[in-house]
């Protein structure tokens, strides 16, 4: 498949120039030199090309041969992707470890999907059927939870000439022959798709179902819809990776693609050790079974880091096309943007803001636009939700990557340095964050969880805003001068922050909260405010309110009441109402 198309003329780190090019196309996959390092053509000029190389180029000298593949950088798609761990250009890291040990050496070539493993295939289509692109030909039980649909590739339609019978086959076995106008196509369980091109769909659908993450501050205050895109910006140490991990663990997606893009090696190890032990709260199966990991850590080649984001989203789209809801974690998109900047600099392009290339916003837009709730070619509903971490230098949100990302996402979870310093996690700021999906998903909450949800949510957000204004007064003159009715707001917001917004990822009970539990906890806190405000109006003092015995239970309810004991929250709510009423009665007479 590979043929010599030219030779290296100049080596500049991960970017090389080659001349004497006979044939080449933009974004074509090439191999360079004796070690056959993988690269991609990023510029064509006369009979010269520029290639970004995905591996370390130490020792590469001018004169080395460049081999062309005739096709763009692509990924392999088929059964066996789930629970795998890949590098940025889809090389299986576990297999590499088995072959070459602790370190990743150059020039390793291993198929992305296991060629030996046999899958039990059940045909759905029959010989003689007319097949449209994306139509399901058969199914494979990939994991306990996921029935993998083998689809006709998006560019093939025609009549099935032969169809294999039910049985155990490897991924390369021809399962069907489709007769098209252009000739006969042999279809196997594996297909290839260029990573920089979105997979086709029938149409886009509105995103009106929330992606439930089990994280209270997200689901209740700043929800994201299935098919939505959200950015998580935060300086170092504010907990971006923890947020990404928590969403990857507990969200109600069918498939999760986790991209560790230019981040720490130990974080990937953490995921690898933790996910197989954790179980999906809905299916009871190990979380790893629904996860694909892409690890291009910060010390791995920079060009492959740039590719890793596309590799991940293409796999996500492939599962979306089978009718699954897929969530993709990109940690961190800033590292991807920096890889872009580094390569752009090596290609001596004219820089725009802070050295980033002028096409940064275009690339960001292309990436985030690949999220969405869609009707697939085969007529099913599937979605890709993107949760992209952003690492702004110095924690300053005015830098280009954060600013441009904001234009293309509809939810924004801003991580706050002060909250993180006080170890208030998740450190999602309730003042700077927003979600434009609230309107779209409100019907889902009122129909499936609680009709009061929008009202409760609005009320608590209003209290948080008022608290912020009051805090400015407090900072100048102290809390003592405020009337009890206003100090109650401070108290309630404190309670809300500690007992609701703050959520421990390491506590068995607290780490995940069902929507029912979330709404009941919210109701208890809002009730405390409503009745408390009433009692104060009737003449009770704040001190009396603070002495209510039920209060300490409120502040610890997140640890003490588990998801399956939600009715205990009802009891707590009743007790609160009773104690408050009694307090009110004492003063009612005066």
């Amino acid at each position: 498949m590979y043929e010599v198309i030219g030779q290296v003329s100049r080596v500049l780190g991960p970017v090389i120039h080659a001349k004497g090019i006979t044939k080449a196309q933009m974004l074509e996959l090439v191999e360079v030199g004796e070690d056959r390092l993988i690269g991609e053509i990023v510029r064509l000029q006369g009979n010269e090309i520029t290639v970004q190389v995905y591996e370390d180029t130490t020792g590469l000298a001018p004169g080395a041969k460049v081999y062309g593949s005739g096709m763009p950088l692509s990924v392999e798609l088929g059964p066996g992707l789930l629970s795998s761990i890949y590098d940025g250009v889809q090389r299986p890291l576990e297999v590499i470890k088995a072959q070459s040990g602790q370190y990743i050496h150059r020039g390793v070539r291993i198929p992305s999907i296991d060629r030996q493993k046999k899958w039990s295939f059940t045909p759905v289509a029959r010989a003689g059927d007319r097949i449209e692109p994306g139509q399901v030909l058969g199914t494979v039980q990939e994991t306990e939870q996921v029935i993998h649909k083998i689809m006709a590739p998006p560019n093939i339609s025609g009549e099935i000439k032969t169809m294999i019978t039910e049985g155990e086959y490897t991924v390369e076995t021809t399962i069907a022959v489709i007769k098209a106008a252009s000739g006969e196509n042999e279809i196997s369980m594996i297909q290839r798709w260029p990573v920089r091109q979105g997979r086709p769909i029938q149409e886009r659908l509105p995103s009106d179902i929330p992606l439930i993450t089990g994280q209270r501050v997200i689901d209740t205050l700043f929800p994201v819809a299935k098919g939505g895109a959200v950015a998580v910006p935060g300086g170092f140490g504010t907990g971006k990776t923890m947020v990404e991990h928590q969403v990857a663990k507990w969200s109600d997606a069918d498939v999760v693609v986790y991209i560790g893009c230019g981040e720490r090696g130990n974080e990937i190890t953490d995921v690898l050790q933790e996910f197989p032990k954790l179980t999906d709260p809905r299916s009871g199966r190990p979380l790893m079974e629904r996860t694909i990991l892409i690890a291009n850590t910060s010390n791995m080649p920079v060009a492959a880091r740039e590719a890793s984001i596309y590799t991940g989203i293409t796999m996500a789209e492939y599962y979306r096309d089978q009718g699954f809801h897929v969530a993709i974690m990109a940690d961190s998109s800033s590292r991807w943007a920096e890889a872009l900047r580094e390569l752009s600099g090596r290609m001596e392009e004219m820089p725009a803001e802070e050295g980033f290339p002028a096409y940064l916003p275009t690339r960001l837009a292309e990436f985030y636009e690949r999220a969405g709730m869609v009707k697939t070619l085969s007529g099913e509903t599937g979605s890709v939700t993107i949760v992209g971490a952003v690492s702004p230098p110095g924690g300053d949100f005015s830098e280009p990557v954060t600013q441009h990302t904001k234009r293309f996402v509809r939810a924004f979870w801003a991580l706050d340095r002060d909250l993180a310093n006080a170890r208030h996690y998740p450190a999602i700021s309730w003042l700077d964050s927003y979600s434009e999906y609230v309107q779209d998903i409100t019907p889902w909450w009122t129909e499936n969880v609680d009709s009061e949800w929008p009202e409760l949510r609005r009320e608590i957000l209003d209290l948080l805003q008022r608290e912020e204004r009051l805090q400015q007064v407090v900072k100048l003159v102290g809390a003592d001068v405020l009337p009890d009715s206003q100090r109650l707001i401070l108290d309630v917001c404190d309670l809300f922050k500690n007992a609701f917004l703050q959520q421990s990822a390491f506590d068995q009970i607290d780490t995940y909260a069902t929507v029912q539990r979330q709404v009941k906890m919210l109701k208890i806190i809002v009730t405390y405010y409503r009745l408390g405000a009433e009692a104060i109006q009737q003449g009770a003092t704040l001190m009396k309110l603070r002495r209510l015995r039920v209060l300490s239970e409120l502040s610890k309810m997140k640890f003490s009441i588990a998801n399956d004991e939600a009715d205990k929250l009802d009891t707590l709510q009743q007790r609160l109402e009773r104690e408050m009423r009694r307090l009110g009665e004492i003063y009612a007479g005066f």
Partner: protein, 465 residues
């Protein structure tokens, strides 16, 4: 080019270079040479210097000379291309020796006999081959053990400022660091980049006093060495560390000081080459470059040893958002921040309560490792100390007299925390139990109702005891 050809070409010597700019040589009319490979340069007196190829094109190359270009002439300089990257001979006998930044002995002893020669650039560790670090290292310093626990295989930098006692704190960590109840063969790899002689002297004396010098390998590229040599120093040091940890199964503590000087050298070269600058004129690849150093820490499957990294860096103008500490913080697993305010109050070690962080702490503490109450008491101390900072800010506006009684209690707690918990003597080694007990002692100054991050059982067991 096949390796055999490279060997053949490596015997070829060229005379004359076209251009010298700072530490960079531009050479033309040569054979095609490989990127990143080693170059030998011989000046008119026959003295050898080493360099590395930064850029190569047909018949021409850009070479960066480690020892600087002083005294090189255009036409009489001789150049040979080795056809291989810079390699460090490694063996166990190198323990106790002193080398320069490129791995050549400077203690008067003979060059080490190589059991093995290793490419100093290393290779990335396969993330699936890593073992997640969970072993608690007791440093005997409360601010670290109690609130920012160090674990074996972690990379935890010290962010300091000029004039702050980062060297004393680091020396104390080296002296006291141990795994409770375990005798191990350990080693220290010490890399100095652009620091002064007396700083290096301070560490060497310290190693000598504690009798560990025979377990230390030193790589010194001091302030008077050419700045380019600093770019290789951490790489040779980490290559040594990898050998000791993963081949000889030793537990290696790597001290890199001062990373700021390393980054300055990187900027210098980048500017000379006319590369497009990024923030504060540092090159756009500063993050990737630092990552290629910091990520060479940890533990791997199939090997008993470990590399724990403690890089030291001074924040220019005490600014934590400066690119060097900023990018470092994004790569390392937390940071120990030294604070000028505490230092001026006479508190040693002046480890800042809030911005310091250890990301691997969660997995290294708790029952069986430290104590069951550790996570909660640490979290509560952070929360309470954050509140102290708020109250102090308020008090500076309205005066302490106007504060509520509770706020005053917080102020008292803040002072106790700094004087009793953070502060300790330079030779004081506290066990983790002592650290946690002191933590309880100071937190018990606050009323029980304020301790919302601590469970009922823990309050009963420890509060006010």
């Amino acid at each position: 080019m096949p390796d055999s050809d490279k060997k053949l070409y490596s015997a070829r010597e060229y005379q004359g270079i076209q251009q010298i700019v700072g530490p960079l040589l531009f050479i033309e009319n040569i054979h095609d040479v490989g990127y990143n490979e080693l170059v030998e340069i011989r000046d008119t007196r026959g003295n050898e210097r080493l360099g590395v190829i930064l850029e190569t094109s047909e018949g021409a190359a850009v070479v960066q000379v480690f020892e600087g270009t002083t005294g090189l002439a255009l036409d009489q300089t001789r150049v040979r291309f080795r056809g291989e990257p810079l390699q460090l001979p490694v063996n166990r006998e190198m323990l106790g020796r002193v080398f320069d930044g490129l791995g050549r002995p400077i203690d008067g002893g003979p060059a080490p006999v190589a059991q093995e020669r290793r490419n100093v650039n290393g290779s990335p560790i396969n993330p699936t081959a890593r073992t997640y670090p969970t072993k608690f290292i007791q440093t005997g310093i409360s601010a670290i053990d109690g609130m920012n626990t160090l674990v074996r295989g972690q990379k935890l930098p010290v962010f300091s400022g000029s004039g702050l006692p980062h060297n004393r704190v680091t020396a104390q960590i080296v002296r006291q660091a141990k795994i409770v109840g375990e005798e191990v063969n350990f080693a220290v790899v010490f890399a100095a980049m652009g620091v002064k002689h007396d700083v290096a002297r301070f560490f060497i004396d310290n190693f000598e006093e504690t009798g560990v010098l025979e377990n230390v390998v030193l790589f010194l590229s001091l302030a008077d060495s050419p700045s380019v040599e600093r770019l290789m120093t951490p790489r040779t040091a980490l290559t040594m560390a990898e050998y000791l940890a993963f081949e000889e199964d030793m537990h290696v503590l790597v001290i890199l000081t001062d990373m700021t000087n390393y980054c300055e050298a990187l900027r210098e070269i980048s500017t000379l080459r006319g590369e497009i600058p990024s923030r504060k004129s540092y090159p756009g690849y500063l993050y990737s470059d630092l990552a290629s150093l910091y990520e060479r820490a940890g533990m791997v499957e199939g090997s008993e040893g470990s590399i724990t990294q403690v890089p030291i860096l001074t924040m220019p103008n005490d600014d934590i958002s400066h690119p060097i500490p900023d990018l470092t913080g994004y790569i390392t697993e937390g940071q120990i921040v030294l604070e000028r305010d505490l230092f001026q109050k006479g508190i040693y070690p002046p480890i800042a309560g809030l911005p310091s962080l250890s990301r691997l702490m969660k997995d290294g503490i708790g029952p069986g490792m430290t104590r069951e109450d550790h996570a909660h008491i640490a979290s509560q101390l952070f929360a309470a100390y954050a509140k102290v900072k708020d109250v102090r800010a308020l008090a500076s506006v309205i005066g302490e007299e106007e504060l509520t009684p509770l706020d005053n209690t917080y102020l008292e707690f803040g002072n106790m925390f700094e004087k009793e918990f953070l502060s300790q003597k330079e030779d004081e080694e506290r066990s983790i139990e002592d650290t946690l007990d002191i933590g309880w002692k100071v937190i018990s100054h606050l009323p029980k109702e304020e301790l919302y991050r601590i469970s009922e059982e823990e309050l009963i067991k420890y509060y006010g005891k």
